[in-house]
Symmetry: C2
Subunit: 330 residues, 2 copies
Amino acid sequence: MHDLDALFAALRSGDRAALGRAITLVESQRESDRTMANDLVSRCMPYSGAGLRLGITGIPGAGKSTLIEALGNALIDRGHRVAVLAIDPSSARTGGSILGDKTRMERLSQRTLAFIRPSPTGGHLGGVAHATRETIILCEAAGYDHVIVETVGAGQSELEVDGMTDLNVLLLIAGAGDELQGMKRGIMESADVIVFNKADGDAKVRAENARRELRGVLDLLPLRPSGRKAELLVASAQDGSGIDELRSVIAQRYQEDRASGSVAVRRAEQSLHWLDRAIDLGLRDLFQGNTVVQQRMAAVRDAVRNGSLSPFAAAEELLVLFRTGGALRP
Amino acid sequence: MHDLDALFAALRSGDRAALGRAITLVESQRESDRTMANDLVSRCMPYSGAGLRLGITGIPGAGKSTLIEALGNALIDRGHRVAVLAIDPSSARTGGSILGDKTRMERLSQRTLAFIRPSPTGGHLGGVAHATRETIILCEAAGYDHVIVETVGAGQSELEVDGMTDLNVLLLIAGAGDELQGMKRGIMESADVIVFNKADGDAKVRAENARRELRGVLDLLPLRPSGRKAELLVASAQDGSGIDELRSVIAQRYQEDRASGSVAVRRAEQSLHWLDRAIDLGLRDLFQGNTVVQQRMAAVRDAVRNGSLSPFAAAEELLVLFRTGGALRP
């Protein structure tokens, strides 16, 4: 507990190494670390929540790192402190494909007002997302008023991000078929701002055309929780065009959403959603850790797989074992 | 148990009233009925699985009932026995908006080789889907070799259907913006056959154009589990065009998938998925029924909602109460 006091104090004072250690604690899957991590996050919570939580997603090659570098620098130039986190479920296998190489954000990573943290490696998406959500709290308590969560738009991870951010930016490349790649996965439905990126040189006209086309499509999508449609922008991190407009659109939407109370409502819903999920995961751990259940599980799954046992009858049998099996008693 | 013997025998003999009673048992949410229902479904399982399980989805107005009437009659004319079920999560409120009115399938409902059952009313989507999955087993054991599950393409329900069918048909109306309505919800990804329906009179040309346009879009979607792209058809239940082609495409795909073993693999995966889900739901019931947890739940949720407690710390606290709270002991 003494250690935790010191860690908390150092983190609050803005000590970057302490923030790094705190995040490592939160990412740990060891039982003993979980208790400390929960304590630390609970202590940080009163000092969190004032800043903007921004999701940035896009398929590999959409220019996420370069855009975050440009946007992050623009924010710091205006006096903000920026933390950049990543959710990358593939990092368990690849060793981290996004933000793994900090040199991709060369200028940003050298600024003292920026903090960059790659995706935790190991563990399933649920665990990675859980750690990232807690890391947002830690970063805010450490004084970062902008937390950017980067994710590859390749499946579930951007939905996880939507469960922890105030606003989301989707990056597309005009003409690469990305419009539809985004749409088919429901990613577009969770975007507040859609940016046609890499719109420099010849690509600028293509990007403008794509923006016009997409406008019609957006009419068919449900509105964002804030009651607005997604904003469509064209930008290039290369020549810097559109970056300040992006920064300004984000700031304006965020201010409006804070004023209307929709940020508060959204965050309360997110928290309750995470509570339910954490309970479900915890119950599953309890169940799978039950030795009586374990002894029967393989045979039951085989019977369900080959069709000789109904999945519902099988579940009932295992749940009775769980309830009466004794392993739950203290 | 004597009752169950009689019910099972009557169901196996093809007694429609017995099948109706069996389904009512499976739909019941009473604890005592659940045990009997599990017994009955387990007994039926060895006699199930030989037939085709077909999902048919589309937004209201896409012409689902009329198409199912036409397809069902075509199947019966070729010697098949057809059961039609519905999953409609809204039926709890509306009293059943699909299949509620059997007169919409006037001819089919009068044929002795057809069995039509509206969506169970009451209960959440998970419960409705669970009952429908068990009803498929009952219908197959009662001798129906085609079970058609109808759903409104309006959210989660068609994903539920994808978890219990061998093949899925999506109905669209050309020019109604349905192409995108289908796409945005991921429905298109679970379709094996997409039918531009109501393609009669002037609408035929529109439907043909829409089919051509959609073909390009489909190249961007992932393949179905069978390794194929969705088939695109044009049909009208009104003038009967395209119905036999639809029947024949479905039959051919199904035969190929059975021969390749992909039906068996898909069903095994579906069963394991339902096992995991039934366990999760059962665990949640246990947890929410725990009196010690109940006493603390409201206060914890309030604290999470207003941001004074981390959802993960809150979950941990409740899980400890659950594990040690005593209510689990027999």
